[in-house]
Symmetry: C2
Subunit: 221 residues, 2 copies
DNA sequence: GGTTGTGAACCACTTCACAGCC
DNA sequence: GGCTGTGAAGTGGTTCACAACC
């Protein structure tokens, strides 16, 4: 029991799954979707590896955390693995997602094929700017931020935060209060949340900022 | 010699600096900028830690890779550390950056304060859509993608790629040919480049996709 | 007393090598 | 023969504990 073996849905989870493995699963899923569209039925770890820049044993180990999905000497069945990955990642049914902040950056996500392909749908949007409130984008009406509290009733448990840095912590606090349990934060600020809540932050400027470090010194000039 | 000790600019680099440390340096820099605006002169590792969600020894170890910037019993001098970090990260002079893909996502970056605060400036933009070519955003004229090759002459060595997934590899190949050595890739695709070139990829849908994995199963209903 | 800087211990993840299976 | 699954070895990064210093 304390070893962590357990049946979860249709797959087994042995011990603890490394976070890094979880990061790669969506990558595998997307690759499978693309080769499924090409009509492929079977795939081996070395193909994942070549296409995604990962080592073959890494792919096999990642998948084996959830049970043996492959066939020795053959590879993995594309349809079956797709099904399993969507199951593991809880992407089987559409994940209703709220968007907070309908500015330049936030608006990108109203109609973002990367999201819909993986089963996410923006079903609500909020902003505090009166000019934006009431406008409709891709079928979603921008609401006043005070309406956040309706999210629980509407069954929305995920949110994307695209507000200015100064408003991020407050926004997240309100989302948590509204029953949101998973947050994708695009604001450049550290967010503190209760243990039960999961925050994934993307900080574009921060990633850009470490690029020069690796570069050779500018030549001549 | 083989131990890697070397004088680099004004700071020393002992052995190899972990990639994870380099990722945190811009975080430290941004925090320093914010407390410098508040007029603070001194800061200790535990303050970084509290504000950024990092352990104090981690902060000290990160900084110590580049030499002793602090004073035992006192902390770090804000101005001096700011200077050192900007130096280490090669952010002393403005980094001229090209933007490829002037669609919804790319356009966000024409006037992105997160970039300018850290010393980046978008000085050129490219797209293949004839309708966008010739338009001016924030003082930058969108050029045809065939003009990429002028970047070397213009002294641009960094680029942000915000094109559709299918066009990403080709775009990057052309950028490399044009002398760009550091790339921030926002397209959801694996990019292969020569060893000398540095690519940092941000894949927003991929990050969103692992959020449901961590969530408790939906209650009731 | 307070805080830095750092070797050493610890931990997590990756890679390897090969047994097992088709 | 070919490819998966996995214990074991290797690697990289974090945390600890404390000596050194102000």
């Amino acid at each position: 029991m304390h070893k962590g073996n357990a049946i979860k849905g249709e797959y087994m989870r042995y011990h603890k799954v490394p976070d890094e493995t979880v990061k790669r699963l969506p990558l595998y899923l997307r690759y499978l979707q693309s080769i499924a569209r090409d009509g492929r039925n079977n795939v081996k770890s070395s193909e994942f590896a070549d296409s995604l820049g990962i080592n073959p044993p890494q792919v096999r180990k990642d998948l084996s955390f959830f049970g043996g999905f492959g066939t020795p000497g053959v590879g993995y069945n594309v349809k079956k693995l797709l099904h399993q990955l969507r199951n593991i990642l809880k992407l089987k049914k559409t994940n209703k997602t709220a968007l907070v902040g309908a500015g330049d950056l936030g608006s990108v996500f109203f109609d973002y094929s990367g999201f819909s392909q993986l089963g996410f749908e923006i079903v609500a949007a909020f902003d505090k700017d009166p000019i934006k409130i009431g406008t409709v984008k891709n079928g979603v009406t921008v609401e006043d931020i005070s309406k956040l509290k309706t999210l629980k009733r509407r069954g929305v448990r995920l949110a994307i935060v695209a507000v200015p840095a100064g408003a991020a912590q407050e926004t997240v606090d309100r989302l948590v209060e509204a029953g949101v349990v998973g947050i994708l934060n695009l604001a450049p600020s550290y967010i503190s949340v209760p243990k039960k809540i999961r925050v994934i932050s993307i900080d574009i400027a921060l990633d850009l900022a470490r690029l020069p470090y690796y570069l050779p010194l500018a030549s001549g000039k």
